[in-house]
């Protein structure tokens, strides 16, 4: 048991250092390496935090979707813990997408917000998972709460393909995909921009795993407290 804890701790430190180093590399690439875009100017650099935030939000909600299916299938608390932890992180990053988007849109489009398909469906996604967290906060812990949450977690994820394809299916203000295009991977942008974006994506992905580890640990500790409380109650 102690050996396992020691290995977990050293893995945690390794992940922390790797995340820190990748974050530093991303900041250096964004502010010193990548050239300023010709038409949008310096504000285009928001892309290197806006797209990774969106990627993490979608990835986190994908994990919620998978863990929710596994919970309904296997009925194991472990999957409910992972789904809850990932939903919270997803909401944090989806909020950052909804903040950085308008900050990029205002100087380029001349408006903070437009009700086009991409923006509206992203707002709907955020509302769905905020509702997921509110449901969990307002109901008693137990299998009923986990089951209802799992259903919302699965249904909510169905909005993500809609968000992705919205810019292709409808006329929107939001630009079309630049990384995965019909011409190939990363053909829609300059190689230096692609490298910077990939470093930033890697940094944000590592941040997700770091946060996920901490959030899961928190939930397990809460479970331990609950079971000790029950144990104490029964012994009295």
């Amino acid at each position: 048991m102690n050996e396992k804890n020691g290995a977990d701790q050293s893995n945690g430190w390794f992940l922390l250092w790797l995340t820190g180093a990748t974050m530093m590399a991303a900041l250096v690439a964004v502010f010193f390496y990548v050239p300023t875009e010709r038409t949008e100017g310096i504000v285009q650099r928001i892309m290197y935090i806006h797209i990774p935030s969106a990627w993490i939000a979608f990835f986190a909600f994908f994990i919620v979707f998978i863990c929710s299916i596994l919970y309904l299938w296997k009925n194991e608390r472990e999957w409910d813990i992972y789904a809850h932890a990932s939903a919270e992180i997803g909401v944090v990053f989806c909020s950052l997408v909804l903040i950085t988007g308008p900050l990029w849109a205002k100087p380029i489009w001349g408006a903070w917000w437009v009700w086009d398909a991409r923006l509206t469906s992203t707002l709907v996604l955020w509302l769905i998972y905020v509702a997921y967290l509110m449901l969990r906060a307002q109901t008693e812990p137990g299998s009923m709460r986990a089951r209802f949450s799992a259903v919302i977690g699965i249904v909510g994820f169905l909005d993500i393909p809609l968000i992705h394809f919205s810019v292709l299916w409808w006329a929107t203000f939001h630009p079309k995909p630049k990384i995965i295009t019909s011409e190939g991977l990363g053909k829609g942008m300059d190689p230096s921009m692609l490298i910077t974006l990939l470093i930033s994506l890697a940094a944000f992905t590592l941040v997700y795993f770091l946060l996920m580890g901490q959030r899961v640990r928190l939930e397990k500790m809460r479970d331990e407290i609950d079971s000790l409380k029950k144990e104490k109650l029964y012994s009295n």
Binding site: I42, R45, I46, I49, I89, V92, L103, R215, M221, E224
Partner: protein, 49 residues
């Protein structure tokens, strides 16, 4: 340096948001650890009695 304010604000929100979330996790962790230690101590005390 036109529109630098927007770039600054976006970065401030993202990095500030991440740090704020990490800080909230640390606070929750501290509070739960305190609860857990108190509970374990109470159980150990009861066992002694």
């Amino acid at each position: 340096m036109k529109n630098f304010g927007f770039l600054f604000a976006a970065n401030a929100f993202v990095w500030g948001g991440i740090f704020f979330y990490v800080f909230s996790l640390m606070k929750r962790n501290q509070s739960l650890q305190k609860d857990l230690a108190a509970l374990k101590e109470a159980i150990a005390q009861e066992d002694k009695e």
